[in-house]
């Protein structure tokens, strides 16, 4: 461990324990919301930013994570701390299967195909009403650990933030490994990477599986935070919303997912007066970044070529 990473770790852990004393419960709730949103966007960093496969299925995986954990808890009494990773694994398998369509479709058609997946999964939530509560939705049981129920933002903070941090570290490590290079190479030339012995279809499917896992774990953690699930939270607009977060933050690095989440969660706070125009603000942000700064905010901030992992890492 270099001195720099040690400093980074100490600062991070210090900040983690200091924040609950500095912020009000409502603000800790927002920190949790930012963390969960960043985790969901990180899935898009992996599948779209790194492996180059456009996915508008993220809201579906978020929904599978949320509903999956909630249903496991209410029907079979599986606690959320076990149900969330379980739903994540189920979503990963679904993501791997979805990844097989990349054999036949790519680019715009892949965007449409994944969008269709979101629509289908949302319809399933609506119509499987005996287990999901249908259009009316269902309440989420509380997150219990060691006989204690965590309900407020300040309590869930101790579960959500460390989980998010660990998953970000793992993804960052994988990006800076031979597997991360193989994903990035797949994005840049499928024909060349196949000639290097890399099974392109398998890697694209693995990228989808990874994004699905991150989306579902994010969805699973979001559920107790939101405390109520309904199918309208997991539609095509939400898939686009998560993509907008990842794009504005910067698709090419995990830091982008965090920056995007901060911007999109905090903007509504500053624009209280413009609540009804929020959709427009987000749409304009997305459009502006795609046209003017395709590398997103993280690309603007970390221009130094040496800043691999936090800057242009996932190239």
């Amino acid at each position: 461990m270099t001195g720099k990473t040690l400093l980074f770790a100490v600062t991070g852990i210090g900040l983690f324990f200091a924040l609950p004393h500095m912020l009000a419960d409502f603000q800790l709730f927002q920190v949790c919301l930012i963390a969960v949103t960043a985790l969901i966007a990180l899935g898009l960093t992996v599948v779209t930013g790194l492996a180059g496969q456009v996915s508008l299925a993220q809201a579906a995986f978020v929904g599978i994570g949320g509903y999956g954990a909630a249903i496991l808890a209410t029907r079979w009494g599986v606690p959320l701390w076990a149900g969330i990773p379980l739903s994540g694994i189920v979503a990963a398998m679904a993501g791997f299967v979805l990844g097989q369509v990349t054999l036949r479709v790519s680019g715009h058609y892949l965007a449409l195909a994944t969008m269709a997946v979101t629509a289908i999964v949302q319809l399933a939530f609506i119509h499987m009403d005996d287990i999901t509560g249908g259009a009316a939705g269902m309440p989420v049981p509380s997150f219990e650990i060691g006989g204690r129920a965590l309900t407020s933002g300040g309590e869930l903070y101790y579960v959500i933030v460390p989980t998010t941090a660990v998953l970000f570290l793992i993804v960052g490590n994988i990006i800076r490994s031979r597997f991360g290079r193989a994903f990035a190479a797949t994005r840049q030339s499928e024909i060349a990477v196949a000639a290097m012995g890399v099974d392109v279809l398998r890697y694209k499917a693995l990228a989808f599986a990874g994004s699905a896992f991150l989306g579902a774990v994010g969805g699973g953690l979001l559920a107790p935070l939101a405390s109520y699930l309904d199918p309208m939270q997991f539609g095509i607009p939400q898939s686009i919303y998560y993509m907008a977060i990842a794009v504005v933050g910067g698709l090419r690095s995990p830091a982008g997912a965090i920056i995007g989440a901060v911007v999109f969660i905090l903007i509504p706070e500053f624009l209280q007066a413009f609540q009804s125009y929020l959709g427009l603000v987000f749409a304009l942000l997305l459009l502006g970044f795609i046209v003017l700064w395709p590398n997103g905010l993280s690309g603007l901030i970390f221009r130094r070529p040496g800043a691999r992992w936090w800057g242009g890492a996932a190239r």
């Binding site: 793992i170 490590n173 994988i174 800076r176 490994s177 031979r178 597997f179 991360g180 290079r181 193989a182 990035a184 190479a185 840049q188 030339s189 024909i191 060349a192 990477v193 196949a194 000639a195 290097m196 012995g197 890399v198 099974d199 392109v200 190239r315």
Partner: protein, 262 residues
Amino acid sequence: MTAPLLSIQDIGVRFGGIVALDGINIDVEPGAIHAIIGPNGAGKSTLINVVTGIYTAGQGSVTFAGQTLNRLKPHDICRLGIARTFQNTELFGEMTALENVMIGAHRSGGYGPFVAATHGFGFAAAESRMRAEAMDLLELVGIAEDAAMLAGALPFGKQRRLELARALATRPRMLLLDEPAAGLRAAEIEALNNILLDLRARRGLTILLIDHVMALVLKISDRVTVLNFGRKIAEGLPAEVRANPDVIKAYLGERAANAIAS
């Protein structure tokens, strides 16, 4: 006679109405430098793309070291020991030259997903070994000083050499090179020829080399096959092929051929 390492048998490929390859038979001996030459559109690249599994032949078969390649995917064919370069270069443009070569070494990386996720035991050692190996290959092709350059920013001649280094990183038994000399200056071609001769001598590599300019490849090739309009029109030692009237005709046109013959 030894058994050929690569055997192309009766390969035929059509694109709509175009017959790109028409019943081609070529045997490449182990350890040989075998050239395939022919004018533009002769079907040379198509042949490499069939061997490496990018195109599927309508007829015929390809065997490598006794194994049929017909139904295999490109990555499987690479894993059997066939590496290639591309005529119009297919580098990973947003990665450095060194990283490009490290992708070639991906399969021999020596650590699994768990170690990758944790950067745990053995990670640093394996990574630095991959890096050193890639650096050696950049050295071999003479672009070590450009290791940190983005591949997309390299001049064309260096991109070609980088493709060669990247192909070598897969640890192949056989190299398929699609016009490696195109766009290179005379001195660069000389250097390339020496590298290829050296690879054969030191690593026992078998090399199938494509070019459409005869003079370049005849110097280092043991055997030459000439394609024209998807057919094999001549095959033999470089000197034999050079003197073949059909070959001269294909390259220079009918009138020039008559002029030379008379």
